[in-house]
């Protein structure tokens, strides 16, 4: 039994934020959950999938976030409770459907979880999805701690059913990936039956066809805004909005999400609990007008503490403007006046610094011996390391061949990158092969455009890379576009048999689904051929064949070609404990820094399994780290590295 399915109401467990969210959904009786992997969101669907194995619900890793939201919506339309989970960028993918979903509304409770990444700890952006709630007019809830992660998620289903619309719950990395004590409630026994009613009128919330047409838009849009007003009314008394502090504080902090913990810590550090009030909001769109108004009337100064853009700040300011006759003039601090930064994540330190300035109190220094200890520990801390691929990673071998083929081709060919571990192809780890990097599937889409510019004199070969999961997620439409418009591109599918970067979740190209059931696998090569591309398949560990295939395809140059470089991720469960080759390095043969090599393996190839022995001036294999992929034996110009098939 997985942790989150323990039926022990009243007891507390140490749960990761994402597990708490999953538990909240289970306590709410969620029956369908869908998502697409993406840090920091992936553990929600993974936790629910483990519960699904016990037959409680249906869970899938959808092909992308839009489809995940659609799958979850179908359950809601069938009067079941459903959830879709994704990272911030996934909401953009789902946004087109989300606009329509929110306009018509939900039937069974439907919750969209967006796990966001201020500070871009595992993202290529700091997307802020809170704006969608305002833009597309549905409620937004933001848990402030681990208990709330569960409780707000659970309550979000009730709210969704109360107003009959989708509700967004927004988490951030520090909440999703931190862990804390969570008191459990009961798990429901009852499972609702699914039925889809469509006999009613086109505008029938619970029994009509679920659709919006030009002639129903006004009615639906009005209905949607009524739902929002109803939500705001409910929020006035929500226990997730709490105030602590004096009746008339010197300064009121309005905050939400994990920032609420930073504020508490900063206030504790500065010892200003008697001067500062803390209004922590769990319901951040629409704002509870009377509640906020009451607190604004008691202060002259307000600091809004939130991460990224001034979403909360601006919404509070709008209320303050509307209520100004009663609140009087208020000085606001936050993003817009530069008190807090609008980029990266906040911390107790940043909040403490802001408070110290606003209240003219000094931030107490830590004890001198503590500071000394920290300095000493930091001095010998982890050595600086280059971001790189794992030992035995197929991407290193793939980029090696792509880089070398492009260099030999000598026409300034370039690769449009995509989202996955292989995004590191931008760095020396991938020999700086990637020259563009945007969203999922964008590599091939952008390449499709570059590939049309031959008529304007662009005579550089255009390549794209994309992973196997990314291929299904968003690259297929781009490929179809390129084929149909006869773009001249070479798409390289880096097929490592899984959604490797986020923890090896299955995708439609694999024989298993999220719940561990057998599933039909879709053949990427057949899809590409079906679209009309010329397709080759190579093992990237065969460097010679990969390079010569690439060179030959580069030379051919016309139309859409696809090269599938198929080799399983070094961390895949199937591979993890097996070394296909025992590697050895003969120091007598290694020419080291001399002319003829100059440390190709450790200076350029850069597999962490290869170590430069500074004293001996020879390369060495780190047996503990080496996974025995055998590729370095192919690059060693001296033949010093040998591979022997492992017994």
């Amino acid at each position: 039994m997985s942790t989150i399915t323990q039926d022990r109401p009243g007891e507390s467990l140490l749960l990761q934020g994402n597990e708490a969210i999953a538990r909240g959904a289970l306590e709410a009786g969620v029956q369908v959950a869908a998502g697409y992997p993406g840090t920091p969101s992936s553990e929600i669907i993974e936790s629910l999938a483990s519960a699904a194995e016990e037959g409680r619900l249906y869970v899938e890793w959808s092909v992308n976030e839009k489809v995940a939201l659609e799958v979850a919506a179908a359950a809601s339309f069938s009067e079941l409770r459903s959830l879709a989970a994704m990272k911030q960028v996934g909401v953009n993918v789902a946004a087109d459907f989300l606009l329509h979903l929110a306009q018509y509304g939900a039937r069974g409770g439907m919750v969209l979880i967006s796990c966001e990444d201020p500070g871009a700890l595992s993202s290529t952006n700091e997307g802020d999805s809170r704006q969608y709630a305002r833009m597309m007019e549905f409620p937004l809830l933001e848990p402030g701690d681990f208990q709330e992660a569960k409780d707000i998620t659970k309550w979000a289903f009730e709210l969704s059913e109360a107003i009959r619309n989708v509700v967004m719950v927004r988490s951030v990395t520090r909440l999703s990936h931190g862990s804390g004590k969570v008191a459990l409630d009961e798990l429901p026994e009852k499972r609702a039956g699914a039925r889809f009613r469509f006999e009613g009128p086109l505008t029938g919330q619970m029994e009509g066809p679920v659709a919006s047409m030009p002639n129903t838009v006004f009615l639906l849009h009005n209905r949607q805004q009524d739902k929002l007003r109803k939500a705001a009314e409910i929020f006035e008394t929500s226990p997730f909005n709490r105030y602590t502090g004096p009746d008339r504080p010197d300064l009121l902090i309005i905050t939400s999400s994990a920032c609420h913990l930073y504020c508490k810590e900063a206030m504790h550090l500065l010892g200003i609990g008697d001067r500062v009030g803390l209004l922590k909001l769990g319901t951040t769109w629409p704002l509870p007008r009377r509640l906020i108004g009451k607190h604004l009337m008691a202060v002259d100064r307000v600091l809004v503490v939130e991460e990224l853009l001034p979403f909360l700040e601006e919404n509070v300011k709008v209320l303050a403007a509307e209520l100004c006759e009663r609140t009087g003039s208020i000085r606001f601090y936050g993003k817009r006046d530069g008190t807090l930064p609008s980029v990266t994540e906040l911390s107790p330190d940043t909040v403490a610094k802001a408070l110290s300035t606003l209240l003219s109190v000094a931030v107490p220094s830590p004890p001198i011996d503590y500071r000394k200890g920290v300095q000493e520990a930091a001095a010998v801390g982890a050595p600086p390391r280059m971001i790189t691929f794992c030992p035995g990673c197929p991407h290193r071998a793939s980029f090696w061949s792509i880089h070398n083929a492009l260099a030999m081709d000598d026409r300034k060919g370039f690769v449009c990158g995509d989202i996955g571990c292989y995004s590191m192809g931008l760095y020396p780890a991938g020999f700086e092969t990637l020259k563009t990097l945007h969203a999922m599937g964008s590599g091939t889409g952008v390449a499709s455009g570059f590939g049309e510019l031959g008529q304007f004199g662009l005579n550089q070969p255009v390549l794209s890379v994309c992973g196997d999961s990314t291929f299904f997620h968003a690259a297929m439409p781009a490929l179809a576009n390129a084929v149909h418009h006869q773009s001249d591109i070479l798409m390289v599918v880096l097929d490592n048999s899984g959604t490797a970067m986020t923890g090896f979740q299955p995708h439609p190209g694999l024989r298993q689904d999220a719940m561990g059931r057998m599933a039909p696998a879709i053949d990427i090569a057949a899809v590409c051929r079906g679209m009309g591309a010329r397709v080759e398949v190579c093992d990237p560990f065969d460097l010679d064949q990969t390079r010569s295939t690439l060179l030959q395809m580069l030379e051919q140059g016309k139309g859409v070609q696809v090269l599938i470089l198929k080799q399983m991720c070094a961390l895949s469960p199937e591979k993890k404990s097996r070394k296909p080759f025992e590697m050895s390095l003969d120091p007598e043969v290694c020419v080291g820094e001399s002319c003829g090599c100059n440390r190709l393996c450790t200076r350029v190839f850069g597999c962490p399994g290869l170590v430069w022995d500074k004293k001996m001036k020879k390369a060495r294999i780190d047996e503990v780290i080496c996974v025995g992929c055998g590729v370095c034996a192919s690059i060693c110009p001296a033949g010093a590295i040998q591979k022997r098939e492992a017994a």
Partner: protein, 372 residues
């Protein structure tokens, strides 16, 4: 001769358009590779001195030093270099049948050298469906398989480096003037290595006015014919002004004016038409199809030619002075033009900011060539 490293090679040779793709730096290390006639550095190398630079015929070539090493005298700048004997020559009666460009003299000399055990293998330029290809030939059949001029630049010396690394010795090397310059430079042991062994027992140079960029020529020809059908090419002496492409059952004639744009700029900076640093140089014999011009430059060359003739593999006739004068004049024109071009680009003697010149000769010789 000052030897720099790969960074300078890329900066001063590649980026200035001086690389001719001779293959001298290819196969020494993992960094310099040649693909379809073009040499590139695939990854930077940080060494301050390298064999790549040492072997390059387009970087710091000190002709005086080369001449003193190989000919025991200073470089004088004679249009055809040092010539001991000049012949009209062709393969002798003992030679197997082959499809030679002209007289089959190169093949005859190599087969003789191989038979006599003077060399173990020959470094040659063969051809496959993708174009010219470096080859290590260790039998008469393999030598005959490489016969025929290629007209495009080729990384022949990559095969030389491969043979050296495989310790195949002694070697015969056949190449164009740039390649013969590289071999001659290399044989002076520019890196002053204690363990240096000269593996070259025979250097045969071919005449060359210029080469053609392989990629440009192939894509030009590909628009006109199926490139895989090409059996050979020929540029008949003036006034033909044409490239004749042998397609087996038919011949295609292309005006030289159409392909001249494919001559790499670096060929216009080359002062050597007759492969002055070889033991023997071989070219066409103007006005006498089926015959070659054979210039003998060294004692080693003289012994080989004499031996080959005695063995019935070679047939020679004295070269008429008018022909020789004609050849000398053509060589003089090429040399003078190259010196002027180098001078104009600041590549002759006068070092650039890094102190690297393409070619070094004494000021006196430079003047005499420029004023010739």
């Amino acid at each position: 001769m000052h030897v720099f490293g790969p960074t300078e090679l890329v900066e001063e040779v590649h980026k200035r358009g001086l690389c001719v793709g001779c293959g001298a730096c290819v196969g020494l290390c993992p960094y310099f590779l040649n693909h379809r006639g073009r040499t590139v550095q695939v990854f930077p190398c940080t060494l301050t001195q390298g064999r790549c630079f040492a072997a390059c015929p387009k970087a710091e070539v000190d002709l005086d030093e080369i001449s003193r090493h190989h000919r025991q005298r200073p470089y004088k700048g004679a249009p055809m270099g040092d010539v001991e004997q000049a012949f009209a020559a062709k393969a002798g009666p003992e030679m197997p049948v082959g499809s030679f460009q002209a007289g089959g003299v190169v093949s005859a000399l190599l087969i003789y050298a191989l038979q006599q055990g003077l060399i173990k293998a020959a470094i040659l330029t063969g051809r496959d469906e993708n174009g010219p290809k470096p080859a290590i030939a260790s039998s008469p059949q393999e030598i005959l398989g490489c016969a025929g001029s290629k007209f495009t630049t080729a990384p022949t010396l990559a095969a030389f480096n491969q043979a050296v690394s495989e310790k195949i010795s002694p070697l015969g090397v056949v190449g164009t003037p740039c390649q013969m310059t590289s071999v001659a430079k290399w044989r002076t042991n520019p890196l002053k290595r204690d363990d240096f062994v000269d593996p070259v027992a025979l250097a045969i140079g071919v005449f060359c006015n210029w080469g053609l960029d392989q990629r440009q020529l192939v894509s030009f020809l590909a628009e006109r014919t199926d490139v895989s059908r090409i059996r050979g090419m020929d540029i008949p002496p003036p006034p033909a002004n044409a490239l004749i492409v042998d397609l087996g059952n038919q011949k295609m004639t292309i005006s030289l004016d159409e392909i001249r744009p494919f001559i790499p700029e670096t060929c216009h900076l080359c002062p050597d038409m007759t492969s002055e640093w070889a033991d023997l140089s071989v070219g066409m014999f103007e006005g006498r199809p089926g015959w070659n011009t054979l210039l003998v430059r060294t004692q080693r060359g003289k012994d080989l030619a004499t031996g080959a003739e005695a063995a019935g593999l070679l047939e020679t006739m004295p070269m008429p002075e008018t022909n020789l004068a004609h050849l000398r004049e053509a060589a003089k024109i090429k040399k003078k033009r190259a010196f002027m071009n180098m001078n104009k680009r600041g590549l002759l003697n006068s070092p650039d900011k890094n102190g690297i010149a393409l070619l070094r000769v004494s000021a006196e010789v430079a003047r005499s060539i420029l004023e010739a």
